[in-house]
């Protein structure tokens, strides 16, 4: 047993770090550092830079354009990308639809979609959740009736992240309402967002951002060749998708980057007559977080290295531990940033600024230093982290069943 990175792994980290340092546009990095979400063009530009390097499809097999990395390399790559901070690869493309098509897609589907997904020529989004189907995904109602060579889709999806940016949506639809088990009547369809009958409505979240949407389907006609896997076997595809590639699920780089940012704020902020970073209470919060991050780093390595050797290819239920702890840490880290900002965390200056078209009015004082405007925004946004991707309660159910056997 040797938990240290090998020389080759350390050299790989240096290579990734150097590449990101040299090629990540400075304005993108700065926006992310200040707590902004990446703009669509930031994400597209960065993913294309990585793709040109052969790194975007980081988890795909070599024959489909992946770099052929080990699980540890993949983890290092994701971590360095988050630490930079650089925009994350669009997970819908890279960790969801790509692997799904590689596993279940027809040769025609692979040829049509894979390379474009890697290069973000197509922006994908995920049509799973519905108003009545959240954690209980199998109760979804959106229907797809077969008419000749087409399905006619009717219904509604919700919480659809980045649907307003998307060119395509992969959606779970009910093709057999009479199936004995709910899971057995579901199919997995690829739908062009430009198809007539699709309406996207924004949902503004508590951080003021437009990230989420409702997507309505009204007699949307989808060619049968855009179904992935067999009819009524879409649940298998969905299970594969949700269990696939959990390497990055803890997003530890994000938590570390946020803790570092909180420390930077604390160095520039005075509290009780000295720099906040000198405050014992603040230091202990940092110490606690850094300890938990360290522990999860090791747990992640254990899961990753076990996963690399898993023969059955099934998702490791221990990745639920990564999801639970990882999201708790992201939330705690963004909370620390917000608390470091103190009263300057309160003004919703970022919203005002957006309403003003991004330009502060002349001769008006800006409330606080550059970090203040968005100090609370990631805190607000990341309340979602323990809800999405299978809520943390669902993760505990998974552990209960799969590990504890209760």
């Amino acid at each position: 047993m040797d938990l240290r990175f090998t020389d080759a792994e350390a050299a790989f980290r240096e290579e990734v770090r150097a590449f990101i340092r040299d090629r990540l546009p400075a304005d993108t990095r700065e926006r992310l550092r200040l707590g902004h979400a990446p703009r669509k063009e930031d994400t597209v530009a960065w993913q294309r830079i990585l793709n040109a390097k052969g790194w975007a499809a980081y988890s795909w097999p070599k024959e489909h354009g992946g770099p052929g990395w080990s699980a540890v390399q993949r983890m290092i790559f994701l971590e360095e990308n988050l630490l930079a901070p650089a925009p994350e690869l669009l997970s819908f493309n890279i960790t969801m639809i790509g692997p799904v098509l590689i596993q279940f897609g027809t040769p025609a589907q692979k040829a049509r979609f894979l390379a474009r997904a890697a290069n973000l020529d197509d922006w994908w989004c995920q049509g799973f959740s519905e108003p009545g189907a959240g954690s209980d995904l199998a109760s979804l109602k959106t229907s797809a009736k077969r008419e000749g060579d087409e399905y006619v889709v009717n219904g509604q999806k919700i919480w659809t992240s980045t649907a307003h940016n998307a060119d395509w949506i992969f959606a779970l639809v009910r093709t057999n309402p009479q199936a004995a088990k709910r899971q057995e009547g579901i199919s997995f369809l690829l739908i062009d967002m430009k198809t007539p009958g699709i309406t996207v409505r924004p949902i503004i979240s508590i951080d003021g951002s437009h990230h989420l949407n409702e997507v309505f389907f009204d007699d949307v006609r989808v060619p049968v060749e855009q179904r992935v896997g067999e009819e009524n076997r879409g649940w298998d595809v969905a299970k594969f998708l949700l269990g696939n590639e959990r390497t990055g699920i803890a997003r530890l780089g994000k938590s570390r980057e946020r803790v570092d940012f909180a420390k930077q704020i604390a160095r520039e902020t005075r509290a009780g007559g000295r720099a906040l970073i000198e405050d014992e209470g603040f230091r202990q919060r940092v110490a606690r977080l850094e300890t938990e991050i360290k522990a999860l780093e090791l747990t992640q390595l254990r899961v990753v290295s076990a996963g690399g050797k898993r023969a059955d290819g099934k998702p490791d239920p221990f990745s639920s531990i990564l999801k639970i702890k990882g999201t708790e840490l992201q939330q705690a880290a963004t909370e620390l940033v917000m608390d470091a900002a103190g009263p300057l965390a309160m003004p919703a200056w970022a919203r005002e600024l957006a309403a003003l078209g991004g330009e502060p009015p002349p001769n008006e004082p800006v409330p606080g230093p550059d970090w203040a405007a968005r100090a609370a925004v990631p805190y607000l946004f990341l309340r979602a982290a323990s809800i999405y991707g299978g809520s943390n309660e669902i993760q505990k159910n998974i552990l209960t069943k799969a590990v504890l056997g209760l």
């Binding site: 047993m1 040797d2 938990l3 240290r4 990175f5 090998t6 792994e9 540890v72 420390k263 970073i277 014992e280 230091r283 202990q284 940092v286 110490a287 606690r288 850094e290 300890t291 938990e292 360290k294 522990a295 999860l296 780093e297 090791l298 747990t299 390595l301 254990r302 290295s305 076990a306 221990f318 531990i321 639970i324 702890k325 309660e393 993760q395 505990k396 159910n397 552990l399 209960t400 590990v403 504890l404 056997g405 209760l406």
Partner: protein, 378 residues
Amino acid sequence: MDFEYSDDQRMLADSVARLLSDRYTFDARRLYLKEGSGWSAALWEQYAELGLLGVPFAEAHGGFGGGAVDVMMVMEAFGRSLVLEPFLASVVLGGAALRHGGTAAQQAELLPRVIDGSLKLAFAHGERQARYDLSDVLTTAARDGAGWVLEGAKSVVFHGDCADRLVVSARTAGDRCDAGGITLFLVDAAAAGVARRGYALHDGMRAAEISLSGVRVGADAVLGPVDGGLALVERITEAGIAAMAAEMVGAMEAMHAMTLDYAKTRQQFGKPIGSNQVVQHRLAEMLVELEQARSMAMLAAMTLDEPDDAERARAISMVKLAVGQAARFVSQNAVQLHGGIGMTEEYAVGHYFRRAMVFEHSFGDSAHHLQRIAATVR
């Protein structure tokens, strides 16, 4: 990066597990507790025969030639069975003192006897006033011809009552909490002027208060550098934390397993209590904490050989904090989910609970280590 155990390590773990499952049932353990020494001399001999007492020592001394990972595996197994024998005191703490501070002559004289079990060591460092401050040493050693004479008292010395040789820290220069001026000595427990009062800790493990009045030792009793012993004290303490962290992982495993088993069998309202989601999620949370602690015990084992003192100290403090928090959560909930039976002397879970309590107060509690980590925040 490699999480695999070697064949030798697997064989070691198997043989320990076999021995303990045969000889360390809960009922057997309760009998060992009642022996005069508070542990089993017969088991101690078995450990020696199996080579366990030589795990961290070089083959040249008759040891197994293992490292911190091997100790971790043994301690995990010991934690699962709540082993009472003075392995931590003699092999881990005393062993670390000799490995890091002993001269070739001291090692050659003592290690073979530690390994064959005929000589037991104890680490007599803590003092009443010191709480967790490693540099707070009032016991003195004054030069006496070529040798030294020791004066003072040591407190809560693990297995100090049965040790044959004590590793005693004493101030040879400076004031109470100075980092410099501490020296370690090997003191025969039977020497004139050594008085010991042994007692049981809450978990049944033995410890002692030890007073030293006019205890004379020769020049060859000095262990490590004169006046520079604090670094050695730190290394011994780190070895203790790493070993106990692994022991706690074993203990948490056992607590989690018995609580899970209880949740599956205990019926209330006509169904197993484990069918309640609130119980299920608690058990899932205990599992998460246990696995995080396991990761940290591994980190500890890997860190003990880290040459950078500051980095090693920070990592070990993180281990103690994380495992301490996990142990508190797991042990408290293990008792809680058992209900009344968990409160009783006759049921195992409470014994693990008490071991967790002792762990928290050994080598610095969570608050102490949190402060140490916080002091390094940049």
